[in-house]
């Protein structure tokens, strides 16, 4: 590991000043940043430790009925907050399906949004990678890419964004609250992450030195609580990144879909809001036929850059299944295997 400066600001404004220097990086839970530093993937010159900024540590209900999640709220604390889990069950389920208990205890909400791709070539510094080293090429193309993107990829980069948390968040119109030298601004999560295009190294709209202070959920997001699920296909039952995942939230009245939210994970460089599918669902009969049409719409533009064509069909099926389980209703208890297709197996439920 290279030598670096370490600063621990006491206030947000101190943090912004400290991070204004080029080569700075904020340190939150460190579960991604430190791994990248040890592997020589990133080598910041200055670490700005934001973990002592108490105002980033709160979960607050806003006057308009919305929710504000401080950027430093730990993944586990958020998922296990009873009021939060009740109002946003799919988000809690997504959080609990990610990583391991130890990692969730350390990982923060803001850090989760900004975690880097798990593309193995990105981590392998001996490989060409446009995201790590712009212009060097993309080793995943023509390489081992069965888990790579099927939507929104470019010839410059076919990586996916690995977060589970972001998938229901983007479905529920979450907004990222950002503080920078220019003051505070709000960006929808849908616009926050960028597709690779020709500049895969620019992963988000954050400007250098900008700080995520919170993530907001609008009041409407809680209205889906009775019909909201997250489903995640993995290569083992737990402690693995998504091959493909989906979050679905429905409002159903008289057998008709009055509101629908759908997003996919593990398919693109950003959490993928499936707006075309939502349009198909709106006003449709709440049944499997509508969900199949929605799945087709969601994947209409999908194409495989390599050995991952199966993910398209898998994603279709996951969309249908997730919508079916959202329709069936949010379970009263958090499944012991959150977001697993096996979450309904008898004997595996417990109160999260």
């Amino acid at each position: 590991m290279r030598d670096f400066d370490y600063v621990r600001p006491a206030t947000i404004s101190e943090a912004l000043v400290a991070a204004a220097e080029p080569g700075s990086a904020y340190l939150a839970g460190g579960t991604n940043l430190l791994d990248l530093m040890k592997g020589g993937v990133t080598s910041p010159e200055r670490i700005v430790d934001i973990t002592r900024l108490p105002e980033l540590n709160r979960i607050e209900t806003l006057d308009d009925g919305g929710l504000r999640i401080g950027a430093l709220v730990r993944n586990a604390d958020l998922a296990h907050d009873p009021a939060f889990a009740k109002a946003y069950p799919a988000v809690a389920e997504a959080l609990l399906s990610g990583a391991s208990a130890q990692l969730r205890n350390a990982a923060t909400a803001g850090g989760n949004l900004l975690q880097r791709t798990r593309c193995s070539y990105f981590y392998d510094t001996a490989s060409a990678c446009n995201r790590r080293e712009p212009g060097s090429g993309c080793s995943a193309l023509g390489g081992e890419n069965r888990l790579h993107a099927i939507l929104g990829w470019s010839d410059a980069c076919i990586a996916t964004h690995p977060s589970d948390f972001c998938v229901p968040l983007v479905a529920l119109d979450a907004v990222v609250e950002i503080e920078g030298k220019q003051g505070r601004r709000h960006v929808t999560l849908e616009e926050f992450h960028r597709l690779p295009g020709d500049t895969p190294q620019r992963e988000t709209v954050l400007e250098p030195g900008e700080l995520i202070v919170a993530i907001r959920l609008p009041a409407e997001a809680a209205s889906f609580a009775a019909h909201a699920r997250y489903l995640k296909m993995r290569e083992r039952t737990s402690y693995a990144f998504a091959v493909v995942s989906a979050a679905a939230a429905l409002t159903v009245r008289d057998g008709k879909i009055r509101a629908a939210r759908l997003a996919l994970g593990g398919v693109a460089a950003k959490p993928w809001r499936a707006r075309a599918a939502e349009a198909v669902l709106l006003g449709a009969d709440a049944d499997e036929a509508a969900f199949v049409r929605a799945a087709d719409a969601a994947l209409a533009d999908a194409s495989p850059p390599g050995d991952n064509a199966f993910k398209i069909e898998l994603a279709r099926r996951i969309v249908v299944r997730t919508l079916m389980s959202a329709l069936a209703g949010t379970p009263a208890l958090m499944p012991a295997l959150p977001a697993s297709p096996f979450s309904s197996l008898p004997g595996v439920r417990h109160d999260a």
């Binding site: 030598d3 193995s120 069965r146 199966f310 197996l345």
Partner: protein, 752 residues
């Protein structure tokens, strides 16, 4: 005062069952749970420096330059070891005096022959400085194209496979057998490269004192390591002292001393100070062995009753370009199923990888998943229940050699496991069972087997004036529980309560305990301990029965038995004398006995010796999404005498879970162009987590084996993988009707 007993003598006064057979908890458990067990990397001798390996990022070629200046200029870096300044060795690391001497990469030249090969060592005041120094070397290479994959080079037939067995073997006429068959199957299966990935990385702390070397390092074979290191450095073996009290797993990768460990010793020599070197996780994917991938084709013929008329098993495997280890996968077909004709053959390609090595059930695991899949396919082709089919083809003698089995309680294993599992209600056809939630449910089975192997071991027993005992042998505890099981054998061997026995192991200055491998450690070192105990008790009995003042006078050596620290007259237990009294009368501070453990050559010739088992698996498969979960595993195993049922069960659990891993999870993903492994970390190299193994049961089936050794011990370390991997994949077929032939089974293979 020493008395020595040979390998398989069983003096009449020994009895089993006081300590042996008890489910003692691990004697080292407290140390481990509290974090006070000292593993190799926990040592910090005064003045110690840290070494970091620089490893190659190419698979094949030459290192053209290293920026040694930049590394040395980094603050804290003390020295950089490259081929130019590496201290001289007394032996060529590329020499191979015997098949178990593996070639090592010790900076002998600038050549690169696999990714993650060591190309330099940076030694520094801190681990961080050493690590950054290694990065600053910024190697430049002359790159040659990497040879990757089972078809990556020209195939050839190796001279020997596994421990040197013939690559091609046959009995009977397979083609005629197939010709005459009523039903035939043929199928090809692929297994991936796997890496041992013990939780504890290979680590070494080495300190030189003149020409004496003191080492802390995990080793599954202390005496072999000692000999290898002594040979490389041109010093006497007794000048090399290795301490290895605990291993955080080995699985075969710590059987032989590896290149990086020797580089730690060389680094200490170069700087004249103690040095610690610990491999990073990704550096374990190359220089410390792996399980080679295989592609196996099985052909079977069956007559009208479902009796096998022929088994043909061919395996292609891979090795490195510079050394020989060939996964003996096809040999799995030698022992399990009766057939008038059996042919097994191997061929291989040489790739730009590290040399493959023994990895938990080498050959047996890879071969078993293919054989058990094929047997399942054959049973289905004959319209038979897989268990009935296996019983129809039950081998009463070892199929390949015709030798009788020393013992074989496989029928009991089938019976007990099937009963416990509820196999009888299984529908014959696949895709017939659904659970209440709509998941496809399947039941599959596999037969487990592993040879009962013994090596050579020695032990030294002492009885002391206070009546307590000491047992010493350089045995290795890999986490399997050797500290406990051997202490139990020692206690019975010495006729003492276990708390009266001081058991010492894990150090190379103790008697050679052989290797903790091949599932043979408990049998081998256990017999040495048993015989050493018997020898010292015999000596004690001489002292007592030959002395008129003793109540045992005249009983004769055979006429006494040892128990609870006393010798008793066999024909009159009211007459006894304590060890302490006997020694006091003789005026002796202590007496000593030595014992050996080794296979008995006569019974070796006569009998086929194997442990057996039967494993039944239930899987659930999501009918649309293809996700698989093993919801139930029941195994029953017969492996001779059980020294400690708790530890033995743990070995079976671990093996069975590895079987799940083999079928569903584990795989090293190699970039097809660079030859570099893309998932060389424990986030991406998947092994099962708790949620993948919700229910695992292991039944211990009673088996007396009078031939393997006096204690009747076979081995339990590896057998659990075999059978299980097949049971899981067969259950997946039974659930879905889709026959997996490539492992691990992937989601895309299940989508249909």
């Amino acid at each position: 005062m020493t008395l020595e007993l040979g390998p398989n003598q069983q003096p009449a006064h020994t009895r089993h069952g006081s300590s042996i057979g008890q489910p003692l908890t691990r004697r080292d458990g407290f140390l481990k749970v509290t974090g006070t067990a000292r593993f190799a990397a926990d040592n910090h001798p005064p003045g110690m420096l840290y070494a970091a390996l620089a490893v190659s990022s190419i698979a094949r070629g030459r290192v053209v330059s290293l920026d040694v200046e930049a590394a040395k200029a980094h603050s804290g870096v003390v020295e950089v070891m490259t081929p130019l300044n590496r201290p001289a060795l007394a032996a060529d690391p590329d020499a191979k005096d015997h098949p178990f001497m593996f070639r090592l990469d010790l900076l002998q030249n600038d050549r690169v022959r696999y990714p993650n090969q060591s190309i330099a060592v940076v030694i520094a005041q801190t681990l961080e400085a050493a690590t950054e120094g290694a990065a600053l070397l910024s190697p430049r290479y002359e790159v040659l194209p990497a040879r990757v994959g089972l078809d990556g080079a020209e195939g050839f037939v190796p001279r020997g496979v596994g421990v040197g067995g013939p690559a091609v073997q046959q009995k009977g006429d397979v083609e005629a057998g197939l010709e005459s068959a009523r039903t035939r199957i043929e199928a090809t299966y692929e297994t991936p490269a796997q890496y041992h990935n013990a939780m504890e990385p290979h680590a070494i702390v080495a300190a030189w004192d003149g020409d004496r070397l003191s080492i802390d390092t995990p080793s599954q074979g202390l005496a072999m390591a000692q000999g290898r290191i002594a040979g490389l450095f041109g010093i006497a073996p007794q000048n090399v002292h290795i301490r290895s009290p605990f291993l955080g797993g080995g699985f075969g990768s710590k059987g032989m001393i590896s290149g990086p460990q020797v580089l730690g010793i060389l680094a200490a020599k170069l700087v004249g100070r103690p040095v610690k070197l610990v491999l990073r996780r990704e550096q374990m994917f190359g220089p410390v062995g792996h399980r080679a991938p295989t592609r196996q084709t099985l052909r079977m013929g069956m007559d009208g009753e479902g009796r096998l008329t022929a088994i043909s098993h061919h395996a292609r495997t891979t090795s490195s370009t510079f050394d020989d280890f060939f996964e003996p996968a096809a040999d799995a077909s030698h022992t399990l199923y009766a057939s008038p004709a059996i042919a097994t053959s191997h061929d291989a390609v040489r790739l730009d990888t590290g040399t493959p090595l023994f990895m938990r059930a080498p050959g047996e695991a890879t071969g078993s998943i293919a054989l058990e899949s094929a047997i399942d396919e054959a049973a289905h082709a004959c319209g038979m229940d897989p268990l009935e089919f296996r019983l129809r083809n039950y081998a009463e003698v070892e199929p390949m050699t015709g030798k009788p089995f020393s013992s074989k309680a496989l029928r009991e294993c089938y019976e007990q496991a099937a009963e416990r599992f509820g196999w009888a209600s299984r529908p014959l056809q696949p895709r017939r069972m659904r659970d209440a939630d709509g998941f496809l449910t399947g039941w599959g089975m596999g037969t487990a087997t592993f040879p009962a192997i013994m090596f050579q071991a020695e032990a030294r027993a002492v009885l002391r004036a206070d009546g307590s005992g000491l047992m010493e042998t350089g045995a290795q505890d890999m986490g399997q529980g050797a500290w406990t099981a051997f202490a139990q054998i020692a206690a019975d061997g010495l006729g003492l309560d276990i708390d009266q026995v001081d058991f010492r192991a894990g150090s190379s200055d103790l008697p050679n305990a052989g290797i903790a491998g091949g599932s043979g450690h408990t049998a081998t070192a256990g017999m040495a301990i048993h015989n050493a105990g018997a020898a010292v008790i015999a000596r004690l009995a001489d002292l007592a029965t030959g002395n008129e003042a003793s109540p045992l006078f005249g009983a004769g050596n055979e006429g006494v038995l040892a128990r609870g620290g006393r010798l008793y007259r066999r024909d009159d237990e009211s007459r006894s004398e304590s060890y302490a009294d006997i020694l006091a009368r003789a005026g002796l501070a202590e007496i000593e006995g030595r014992g050996k453990g080794a296979p008995d050559p006569a019974s070796q010739e006569t009998y086929a010796k194997h442990a057996h088992g039967a494993v039944f698996a239930e899987v659930k498969v999501d009918p649309d999404l293809g996700q698989i979960r093993v919801t139930r595993l029941v195994g029953a195993f017969a492996a001779g005498r059980v020294i400690n049922p708790r530890l033995v069960r743990s070995q079976y659990y671990g093996g069975m879970i590895w079987g799940v891993s083999f079928a569903l999870h584990e795989e090293a993903v190699t970039d097809r162009r660079s030859g570099r492994i893309q998932n060389a970390n424990l986030a991406d190299y998947h092994v099962p987590v708790n949620a993948d193994v919700p229910s695992v049961e292991a039944l211990l089936v009673h088996e007396d084996d009078p031939h393997v050794n006096a204690l009747g011990i076979k081995g339990v370390g590896e057998i659990g993988i075999t059978g299980t991997a097949g049971a899981v994949t067969n259950a997946v077929w039974h659930a879905t009707g889709v026959r997996p032939r490539r492992f691990p089974i992937r989601i895309e293979d299940m989508l249909g």
